[in-house]
Amino acid sequence: MKDTNPAKPVLLTLRDIHIEGRSEETWSPIIKGVDLTLHKGEVLGLIGESGAGKSTLGLAAMGFTRDGCRISGGTIDFDGIDLRAATEAQRRGLRGKRIAYVAQSAAASFNPAHKLIDQYSEAPVQHGVMSRAEAERDAVELYRRMRLPNPEEIGFRYPHQVSGGQLQRAMTAMAMACRPDLIIFDEPTTALDVTTQIEVLAAIRDIVAQFDTAAIYITHDLAVVAQMADRIKVLLRGDEVEEADTRTMLAAPKEDYTKTLWAVRSYARPVQPPVAKGTTPVVSVRNVTAGYGAADILKDISFDIHKRRTVAVVGESGSGKSTAARVITGLLPPRRGAILFDGAPLPADYRQRSRDQLRQAQMIYQMADTALNPKLRLRELIGRPAQMYLGLNGKALTDRIRDLLHLIELEPDKFIDRLPSELSGGQKQRIGIARALAAEPKFIICDEVTSALDQLVAEGILKLLDRLQSEFDLAYMFITHDLATVRSIADEVVVMQNGKVVEKGPKLEMFEPPHDPYTELLLSSVPEMDPDWLTKLLRERAAKAGKG
């Protein structure tokens, strides 16, 4: 094992680690003999697609496995302690005290029943590091360092009273409470909006540097890891692909797999000619105001979607982009305004729409897991719309299902009788697409269809959608928060903020200045592969703020 930083002493060594997971009665390997060395104060990025075993390996560094997993081989040495040989009580003594963990979703990982400060103090008090009063004082100090607003007061809130980005920082503060030697960051910013992500990344980077804490930073986002890590280790299906110093890795990946990872962002849909003036749009959103209860979530929004065109609706969580989709589908009748389909107004409530009107507009959901009935086989999942709308039955129906499976590049014989649980994430999303296609619609709403997927898989989905669009003359409304996706697939862009359309136009115009300030913020917040990007960005923003 290469020792890249001999200047600092080694903190953690994993040798030939094997981890297995149980599915039904058999144990199958998750980590297949990975080595890992971490020095004091060093940040190691672990990168890979879902299923690569990043989290499992990260947790193994704490001597911890999730239920249904076991470490079946190798050694784990943390600062001279053999974690595998140690008793559970000894390991417990280390966790939270010397090795801390920051989870992906702070909202889910904070206990909803306790105040933040109670959860902060728990580890230091229970491990006997400080008294409760000291811990509370310390919490305020760390909250301040994590640049949380109202550091004196925020700890006395319950998790649900604090926003996602703040929670993630509070969790990092909590991990720091005992001033551990090592923190495992498990995708700490994945669930956040890009603009929020910047602040969290910056806060994490600073505090790790301040306390000279070693960290393992787990993520699937290359651009993020580039900002955070000193070294990067790439994992693929439980095996190490390669490991290198961050800059080396970015500049010159050795392995093919790493190269494909790096290459992901290259796909772009060819620029489409502008739509002729006077063409009737497939879907036209006209001055729609809508909302739940008293509050308006959408405020007078309008945009058109044309045949064979993709309109990307971009915005952060809470901007109203999903609500717009609900208005179009008729789930949420608008207070004011109308939806026109092929120039004719659609009934506001889906229950009033004709079967044909329902057929014409289909939807693909973000979470294929919840969008596909887990108890139905693909045959029924895909076949049902065809049976319902087109009246297909028997052989004709089966043939249609097989055609659809072909279209989404799944082998019919193998898949037709599977359950969703027997599919991978990308395959599930393809089924979602097939189900939409089965209705032979004119218009499809794609709600964050790629955001839950690994980049390579997402890429495949985007290409498929693109191909289907040309093949069937579809109009797409593409809801996303990911500007990379916009770049690759959109023809037109609608930027939303707080329920309003702040900017709209052809894609090319959108990515060229001058921007609306919000679009500018959004664009600039997308991490780039440059390891210095975050530093530069923060410096620029600070400078701008200084000027303003």
């Binding site: 966790r95 939270g96 206990n111």
Partner: protein, 317 residues
Amino acid sequence: MSVIWTMIAKRLGLGVLTLFVISVIIFGATELLPGDLAQNILGQSATPETVAAFRKELGLDLPAYTRYFNWLFGALQGDFGTSLANKRPIADLIATRLGNTLFLALYAAAISVPLSLLLGILAALYRNSIFDRTVNAMALSSISFPEFFVAYILIFVLAQSGLFPSMSRMDATVGFGEALYRTFLPALTLTLVVTAHMMRMTRAAIINLLASPYIEMARLKGMKPMRVILKHALPNALAPIITVVALNLAYLVTGVVVVEVVFVYPGLGQLMVDSVSKRDFPVVQAVALIFAAAYVLLNLTADVLSTLSNPRLIHRK
């Protein structure tokens, strides 16, 4: 907190409506029962004139709705009337028995609730261990025996050896300690009957949460398993546990007629059954309403407590 007050007000309103509907249902059902009070008290041998005279005296000759509304208006003014059968004021009739019923219910609850929580927590902590499976099997066995059978077994084991009295006779002279001693067997019987349900729910509610990220977080903070369960899982599992506890408490108040019979315990259940069989309709109504009110109030309490246990509902953003 205004959330809670709104909820309480709304639920109380619904509760009153529920009580009203129940009083109609119970009245209707008693009306549908074959025979009536006059005939029941006088017996088969009574001549029709005797029965008619008695009926008139009791007001049973009036149409059903008149009797119902007479009763309802009386009840609305706090006057539950007198028992048709023995002329005693129903309030007197019920007062001591209600006290007894509540005493036994609280006694059984005081044993069974902590016990089932403890067993449930331990079973969740040592899930799938021998301990867990044994407790589970024992709990299931105990609920699969009919109550009176459990009672007989306890009498055989604990009363015939002279440890505890086989009858739980209560009167005004019985002191608190003595009362606890005398009602130990019925309380234990009820404990065995209700513990399994609450214990299983406690266990399930906790285990249900163990896959939550915040439980993993607690474990990754190096917390001991017991602390993880008590401090992290339990507070979030309270709502379903409280609900099932409330259901069982309601059962302890309303469903214990069999235990009352076996242990000769003067509670409301026996009064209800006797009054139904004698068609003593005002008493049936009064007891049914007490039972229904207990159910409504316990459910309301459970909902309030569940809400209080959930910071998301009381501390708005």
